[in-house]
Structures are given as structure tokens and as C-alpha cells.
């Protein structure tokens, strides 16, 4: 909550006529929220980058964009792995059905079961850093949060507040009738994913920086990240993978390969209770979608962490 009213005020003070024109109050795109089937043309359209004003607000938004697409460089002190925000939020946080920022920002503050309290958008972003980025929460009033909040706010220009827009999150897909199959997922992975993410999920670098993110292991998201849920990962994969060819895997294969990915070890859940995987599973994972934290796979207990 901390950054939001201040930024809104800031935007109101400095917005140019171009931006103000973009804040269309009679925009119709959000009026009939529907799940995934909605055609793209009816989706909310975030403002164009070219229309960003050349002033203090525009500068802050650009900084937020830079952090979002190259978190490794622009918010390095809060990142503990090889991920960037845009690895999960495609098209720089714009793409419908890929957890776009324009659909998230207007839905906060919101109650989250994850920490059993009402979260501000700032707290939601801090959660991304703690879990998906396996790092630490940037301070609520600091440069990183302010810039990311400004970027999110700008992308949501004209979006209704507190009204769920079509294209939010990832469209969920049904679990395979016979359940997921990790062995089948391994085959799907080798055929479709390894070319970019490596044979062992290690990702690939160029000039010392990850280009393709690591999917498991010490440089990937931790056991507390939303993507550790097989159902969430399956939805993401179905929608977006292989990159540029989203929607080409079958629903079942998306589940199988998500299960394969998430049957590997990754950094520990930072909420670890009393050093106990069992207690942590009971409190945070037992009722958190479909996941393998604290579960034995091929005789090996998952959730031990990599650090």
C-alpha cells in the first residue's frame, strides 16, 4: 500500500495530455470478464511505450521497466538466483494470460491465503523477490519498489480498480485424467525444453548472464514460489512454452513436464518452520495446489533445498 497513493498523486501531477488521454474512463474492454477463451482483441490494452511521457514520471516508469526485464542487473542486490521478472511475466509484463501487471495492479490490496493477511501491491512484489527471485524484499519506500509500482501503475492506465480483468494470471488447465506422469514429463522436457533450459534444467548463459532461466537447482525459484505448484507451472507452460510457440503442448504434456520440472530440488522455502520439512509442508504446502514439497519421489524426500 505504501507506494500506491503517492505514485497516483505523482502521476496526477506530472502526467502529460498524452497520458491523460490514455486514461479512458469509458473503456469497454473490462466489462465482461471471462476466462481464457476471450479473444485477444477484447483484452485490456496497456499503453504504448512510445506514449510514455518524457518527464519524471516517465523516467520512473522506464526504470521500473528496466528492473522488470533485467532484474539481474537493475535490482541485483535483491535477487538471489538467475531469474528476471519477465521470465514469468512475458512481454515485459504486458502479455494477457501471462500474469500481466495491468491485471494485477488494480486488484490490490487483497487478502492472500499465502500469508493469511491483506497484502498491499508492495507486499505482493516483495513476495516475488523473496520466493520467485529467491532474494530479499526490497524496502517498501525504496527505489526498486517505487519504480516497479510506477511501471505497474502505468501499464494499468485505464484499467478498472478492484475488477478482475480477463487475461489475469495464467489460464488453468485440467489435470490429466490418470494424474501426472513424471517419467512422461522427462521425455516432453528432452524434446521441447532442453534446447533452451539445458539437459539438467540449468538454463543457459551468454556473457555471464542467464538468457534462458534455470528451472531447478540453486539458481532457480525457491520452494515458496508460486511456480513450484505443478498446476501453476502447467498453466504457465501451456500458455507460453516453448517461447513463441505457446499453446502447442497438449494440456496433459504441460502437466507432465511441469511435474518433471518441479520434482527436482531447488532453494529452500524461506518460511521453513523449525528446520522441519514436515512442519513446513503441513503449514504452507499441504493446501497449496498440487506440489511435491515434502513428498518422496523415487525414494528421495523433496524440499531439502540447495543452499
Amino acid at each position: 500500500m505504501n507506494g500506491k497513493p503517492k505514485l497516483a498523486l505523482l502521476a496526477a501531477c506530472v502526467a502529460t495530455p498524452v497520458l491523460a488521454a490514455g486514461v479512458a474512463m469509458d473503456d469497454q474492454s473490462q466489462l465482461t470478464p471471462k476466462p481464457a477463451a476471450t479473444a485477444n482483441s477484447t483484452r485490456f490494452q496497456p499503453p504504448r511505450e512510445d506514449d510514455l511521457p518524457d518527464n519524471a514520471f516517465g523516467k520512473l516508469v522506464r526504470e521500473g521497466h528496466a528492473i522488470f526485464v533485467d532484474t539481474q542487473t537493475h535490482a541485483a542486490e535483491y535477487v538471489g538466483n538467475g531469474m528476471n521478472c519477465t521470465n514469468c511475466h512475458l512481454e515485459q509484463g504486458r502479455k494477457a494470460d501471462s500474469a500481466p501487471l495491468w491485471a494485477a495492479y488494480p486488484m490490490y490490496p487483497a487478502y492472500r491465503k499465502k500469508n493469511d493477511k491483506v497484502n498491499s501491491y508492495t507486499e505482493r512484489m516483495q513476495g516475488c523477490f523473496q520466493f520467485s527471485m529467491n532474494g530479499k524484499a526490497p524496502p517498501a519506500e525504496g527505489r526498486v519498489i517505487n519504480a516497479l509500482a510506477a511501471y505497474s501503475y502505468w501499464l494499468a492506465t485505464g484499467a478498472p480498480t478492484g475488477k478482475e480483468l480477463p487475461g489475469r494470471a495464467y489460464p488453468s488447465i485440467a489435470q490429466p485424467k490418470g494424474g501426472y506422469d513424471i517419467a512422461r514429463g522427462k521425455v516432453v522436457y528432452a524434446q521441447n525444453c532442453a534446447i533452451c533450459h539445458g539437459e539438467n534444467g540449468e538454463g543457459q548463459k551468454a556473457a555471464g548472464h542467464y538468457v534462458f532461466p534455470p528451472l531447478w537447482g540453486k539458481d532457480s525459484f525457491n520452494w515458496g514460489a508460486g511456480m513450484h505448484r505443478i498446476n501453476t507451472a502447467a498453466a504457465f507452460i501451456k500458455e507460453n512454452m516453448p517461447l513463441g510457440k505457446g499453446g502447442t503442448l497438449s494440456d496433459d504434456d504441460a502437466w507432465h513436464v511441469a511435474a518433471f520440472m518441479n520434482s527436482h530440488e531447488r532453494p529452500q522455502d524461506p518460511r521453513l518452520v523449525d528446520g522441519s520439512i514436515d512442519k513446513t509442508r503441513e503449514r504452507y504446502h499441504a493446501n497449496d495446489g498440487v506440489n511435491l514439497y515434502g513428498v518422496r519421489v523415487d525414494g528421495v524426500l523433496l524440499g531439502q533445498g540447495t543452499n
Binding site: A66, V69, L90, C196, H209, L243, G244
Partner: protein, 219 residues
């Protein structure tokens, strides 16, 4: 053959010979400068430049610094026709497997261009930069750098360097995918992207990446 390699006693040649393995040892440097044992296997230097920096105006690509596995795959694809090229097809067929391994290793070891930093966080001015750094997601076209790396430096064995290739070569390849004369992209990752681009976009993005690489010698 092996004797002549050893006798040359050039560190690189020895290295290449070792890398190629004892059974099919060939001299990559020699293949580059003089061609293969079969006279139809013309020397690479003829068209690809003294330092394998390419001949831009003619559309012959730079090869220096390109991963060996990528180069070897292209040769195999010229042979099979998955990548059609009237100049390279007979040369690829005339090279022995050992010569391909050796020359690919030699080329990979040659210095590539200096690449300007250009990342996803940079401003994207112009149609080429927009495609490269922002993509065209309304057509399922990812940011070029999402796979080819910052500045188009290339990533691993499957995503070749774009920076420092001539705009002539890059646009010819995009056109080849659009026309179906090149269909050797692994998992068909590239073809649909090329086919989603307009003529203007092909030109713009080719010029963009050509401008990011700087060779010590002219192309």
C-alpha cells in the same frame, strides 16, 4: 595425414587435431585456408574472408567465433537439404566428417566481432530495435534477444550470433525461412517467427543486428 599435423607443430592445429580425435584427425586451419581433400571442398577463406568475418555485400556469413556444434549442424543440413544453398551444398557434401569437425572447431576458436551492449532494458528506437528488444507478441514473436542473447551474441549451440552478421546475410536467412528454402531450425522455433515479419521488419531487424557487431577487418 596425422603425421603432417603433428609435424606442423602449431599449437592451434595440434589442439584441433586432438579435439577431432585420433581416428579422423584433420587440420581445420588447412581446410579453412586450402579446402578439403576433395577438390570440390573449396577453402572457406575464399568466400568467408581472411578472418572468417564474412563478405557482407555478397551475403556470405561471418563464421569466426560461432560455436562448432552450430557450424557442423549447418554443414549437415546443407548436405540433407534442410538448408538449401547452391554454393554450400556441393562443398558440404565434399567435406569429410573429420574435416567438418576440424574446421568447425577452428572457426569457433577464431575471434568473433566486438558486440555492442544491447539488452532488454534499453530504449527501443526504430522498428529493428523494437523487434529485437520488445518482440511482436501480438504475433507470438518473442524479443530476438530472448533467445539470441543480449546484443544478439548468440547462446549455446542452437541460437547463433546475429551481431556482426551483415544485414544482407540476415535478411536472406529470414527470407529463406519465409520461402521454405531454410527449414533446419530446431523444433521449428524460428520459421514461424520469420513468417510473421513484414518485409520492412526483416530489413530493419537485419540492419539492427548488423550494426551491433564490429569486426577488426572489414567485412
Amino acid at each position: 595425414m596425422l603425421d603432417s599435423v603433428v609435424l606442423r607443430a602449431m599449437p592451434l592445429a595440434v589442439l584441433v587435431a586432438l579435439a577431432a580425435g585420433p581416428a579422423g584427425a584433420a587440420d581445420g586451419e588447412k581446410v579453412f585456408h586450402e579446402g578439403g581433400a576433395d577438390p570440390a571442398a573449396l577453402a572457406c577463406v575464399t568466400c568467408h574472408g581472411a578472418q572468417a568475418q564474412g563478405l557482407g555485400a555478397a551475403g556470405f556469413p561471418a563464421l569466426a567465433g560461432t560455436p562448432a556444434a552450430y557450424l557442423a549442424k549447418q554443414i549437415a543440413d546443407f548436405r540433407s537439404g534442410a538448408r538449401m544453398n547452391p554454393v554450400m551444398q556441393p562443398i558440404a557434401t565434399a567435406l569429410s566428417d573429420a574435416e567438418v569437425s576440424a574446421v568447425a572447431a577452428s572457426l569457433a576458436a577464431m575471434p568473433g566481432p566486438t558486440v555492442k551492449e544491447a539488452g532488454r532494458a534499453d530504449a527501443a528506437v526504430g522498428a529493428g530495435a523494437k523487434l529485437a528488444l520488445r518482440g511482436a507478441w501480438d504475433r507470438n514473436v518473442p524479443e530476438c534477444v530472448a533467445c539470441h542473447g543480449p546484443g544478439g551474441v548468440g547462446v549455446g549451440a542452437s541460437f547463433p550470433p546475429l551481431a556482426g552478421q551483415s544485414s544482407e546475410y540476415l535478411s536472406a536467412q529470414l527470407d529463406a525461412w519465409r520461402q521454405g528454402t531454410r527449414k533446419n531450425d530446431p523444433q521449428a522455433l524460428m520459421g514461424h517467427i520469420a513468417r510473421a515479419l513484414s518485409d520492412d521488419e526483416v530489413r530493419a531487424v537485419s540492419e539492427y543486428f548488423a550494426g551491433l557487431g564490429q569486426w577488426r577487418v572489414p567485412q
